[in-house]
Homo-oligomer: 228 residues x 4
């Protein structure tokens, strides 16, 4: 569709390369020289596109996050029920991270704890999704799906914290990624902790007593136990 100007291509190449190298070695240990060499341009050229090394670093998530965030914003309104939304967001995170290993390594290992990154536009966007997660939990509480005494911040912390923890283990210990396969177990665990129980769930003991003279075998006792 849209032609990519050679200039844009070059810029993307630099960003791509920088992501890789920053992810591997961290900001401090990566050098512009190394990046430029790997990207096939000169040091000076990097500075044509980015004013400082840090600007280069912070541009990376901007580029990567844009589309997924937009997608998520589009999808969520179509989903009914807090649970579905919550599950979708978790799915979104996991998919994004698993599909972009370099990006997730960069974010998890180096960006997430970078104080300057907090002042960034990229961080704004990311916070946006995190906020949607919070909102969605709150909605669940408000509409009675989730328990009234649920602490939305704690729940969000659990969700994000788990994702982050799994991600970091993946990158640091070389554990198999399989991020996405954790979506359901995680969400189920969370939901089981905050969902308001309905009759049909958990233990439902229904005893129909028809009167004294009714023989035992006619008494209707139903025990339904569902998976939590």
């Amino acid at each position: 569709m849209s032609k990519i100007s050679p200039k844009t291509a070059r810029k993307n190449k630099i960003i791509e390369t920088a992501m890789k190298i920053f992810a591997e070695k961290g900001f401090a240990d990566a050098t512009i020289s190394e990046i430029s060499k790997a990207a096939g341009v000169s040091d000076a050229t990097v500075y044509e596109y980015f004013n400082t090394k840090e600007e280069l670093l912070f541009t990376i998530p901007e580029e990567i996050t844009e589309e997924p965030v937009r997608d998520m914003e589009k999808i969520l309104p179509f989903l009914r029920g807090s649970e579905s939304k919550l599950r979708a967001i978790v799915q979104g995170y996991m998919t994004l991270y698993e599909n972009n290993p370099l990006y997730s390594a960069l974010v998890m290992l180096h960006l997430k704890t970078n104080r300057n990154f907090l002042k960034t536009k990229s961080y704004e966007k990311i916070r946006g999704i995190a906020h949607m997660l919070l909102t969605c939990i709150q909605e669940g509480i408000d509409d009675g799906s989730f328990k009234k005494d649920t602490d939305p911040h704690l729940v969000r912390a659990m969700i994000l914290g788990t994702i982050e923890h799994l991600c970091i283990r993946w990158h640091l210990l070389g554990a198999p990624s399989n991020l996405v396969e954790h979506v359901d177990p995680l969400v189920d665990m969370i939901l089981s902790g905050i969902r308001v129980k309905t009759h049909t769930r958990n233990l439902s003991l229904n005893i129909h007593l028809a009167g004294d003279s009714i023989p035992a075998e006619n008494q209707d006792i139903t025990v339904e136990e569902q998976k939590s």
Copy 2:
């Protein structure tokens, strides 16, 4: 009791100061010169006690972690039941981190994602506790307290991830610490996801009595017990 030699005192002072500065600025941005000045010694003196800047960094958790780890190892055998143990471990983590803000900042923001740190003795110890957590979850599964289909690794990831996430938010965003007050909510959330339900818990008892003489308003007894 035991006299602290001036040498030890000096070493501790350096470690203390280093922890503070490393925690604030990270490993790369902190300089030995800054640390030594803040500790009231010369650069060279720092190198009397630590062979490299990195060794200084890695010595910090060693010093801090030793006692809490030992304590935890002593306490756990006295606790009965996987739930108690699990709660104790979470409590231990949260307390350690909350009582040592500099330490927790250092670990969460800088050490946790440092690849060299993984090869460290300190990391060994820390992994030790994490392993105890896993063991304790497994025990719960084995003795029937926790559901058979529980994924211990996921549960652990949720616990540790949540703690880490809360810790990082605290340090990075200056959110109020209050780490410890999250212990119970967190543990309860987790338990509600893995605990095998007993009658007295999570019970919905619906008794439909069909007897004539019974007044209508009494015919339906619903007992709902939610959340322990």
Copy 3:
């Protein structure tokens, strides 16, 4: 003829300067800072051209030795007789050292005893000539010019040792250089020790008997004894 790029010129300037300062103060006592200042560049610029201080040191002989070694290799095949060759090599050494006082000071005072230098390509080249010297002595032995019981290694040690000793005295004691004027005396001394004696040398016994009755053809008795 060939344009010298400013880059090459700069590099040469650094090498030149380094040679001077290394020769004067030795490797350890010379500082990059001093060299760069004297060469009119910054410290960092020196490191643009040479990766380490030691690499700078070892580059020097490489640059200097190249031409003379090539020349010697070209000349030798044109010389007839081991004596001429031997004399030419000595002449070559002495000329090289005398014409490049900085270089000879560096080699004699600092490089010759540097263990790392032995692993160097420069050292390879230098060893090349030393080997040619050995070969040439051996050839003399094989073709009967030099005594059969000559120890070529000793002879070479004498030649090189003498050159080195003279060179060191020159640089260390400020004795007048005049290296080249020692070529002939040295070579003659050496040759007198290894040359196979001819008629006019060593023992010639000529007896002229003037008696009448002696047949003319008997009047001349010549005893020639060769080889001492």
Copy 4:
């Protein structure tokens, strides 16, 4: 005999150790700390005995050279003839160096080219022997043993240079020492270059016999001895 005070023993131990380490690594690369540790004393103790690192270095040859120099001075007067003396001196050098490998390594690799060493008392002594060598050559010239046109300095340079060269090769290349076995070949080579020829060598004897009855005093006997 003479009791060695513990103080002297300690000093000797330091000197011994320093010799070893200086010989191995050179002055610049050896550290006081390393020496003191190897000698079993503290850094500060080294400074009790020697004011500076350099003073320690320069004390070494003083200690080692003293006895051999005295011995040589005692022996020489007993020897008759320049050749014997010359041979004795060479023998002395070679023996000293071969018997004290650490010392010879130190001198040959590190001390000989140290400009400050030239101002040292130790160097004075060493120069003393070198001067004796020169004197002895000169004596040989004066008494007619050696050729009138001998350049004593060159001869001495040849002798010392050869010894040094062999010594350096030994230490640097790990060539087998066998220094002493080179004494005779070396001296013979030298002598063959400077010795005035005697009858049995290099002799031209021309005898003109004019007849039986010719009185002996009329017989023409010419003895020509040519420079070799």
